[in-house]
Symmetry: C2
């Protein structure tokens, strides 16, 4: 057992859109990821996904509206809901999602990360 | 769908040791709780539990050591591990745990909260 310090962990990597596993509990992973720019539209058919903003500002586009998340705010995107995260500047995000979750959901392209590193 | 702002939600209640449900995803709840003072020794036989400190400082006593968590730090207490949270001053904590989790785990006493409010 080790505690996790967010700022310290985020200091260990610089790449964007590649979530790192920072912890696991029950059937879920806690992942840390830095985002910058626009992702792809996708959905997760069987998994709800939580986005918690640690630093910066994250836009989560849905088909019918946009959520703007600041540090200290989170949004749960329910399974089946199409979404596209957009970070105008660098954002630090904690994700909570089932171990089975693929970052690009039902889409498989060059943004897909098959193997997650632990941090 | 609604985003959750931590500071705003914590501003809505003042009682200690009574977790509020702030979100649910997959089989888990996201709970917010204010702690002050000493809790009871307990364990969760089938559930891992995540403590994320939003504000203040939380001690988590295990039988063989103590973790000190500041804001921006989290600890996952695996199932079966006895623990006792202690807050010398008021602490704001986000918990992530299965919906089945009882706050006092395998102990049932006056600190047990059977029905959680949503916030």
């Amino acid at each position: 057992m080790e505690k996790v310090n967010m700022a310290e962990k985020f200091g260990l990597f610089a790449d964007y859109w590649r979530p790192k596993i920072a912890g696991e509990l029950n059937d879920s992973y806690i992942k840390l990821v830095k985002l910058k720019g626009e992702f792809v539209w996708h959905k997760h058919n069987d998994e709800d996904e939580l986005f918690f903003v640690v630093k910066g500002m994250l836009l989560i586009h849905l088909r019918d509206r946009v959520f703007s998340l600041q540090a200290g705010e989170f949004l749960i995107v329910p399974r089946g809901v199409e979404h596209m995260p957009v970070a105008e500047d660098e954002v630090w995000v904690m994700l909570i999602e089932p171990k089975s979750t693929l970052n690009t959901g039902d889409v498989n392209n060059e943004r897909t990360v098959d193997r997650l590193d632990r941090i």
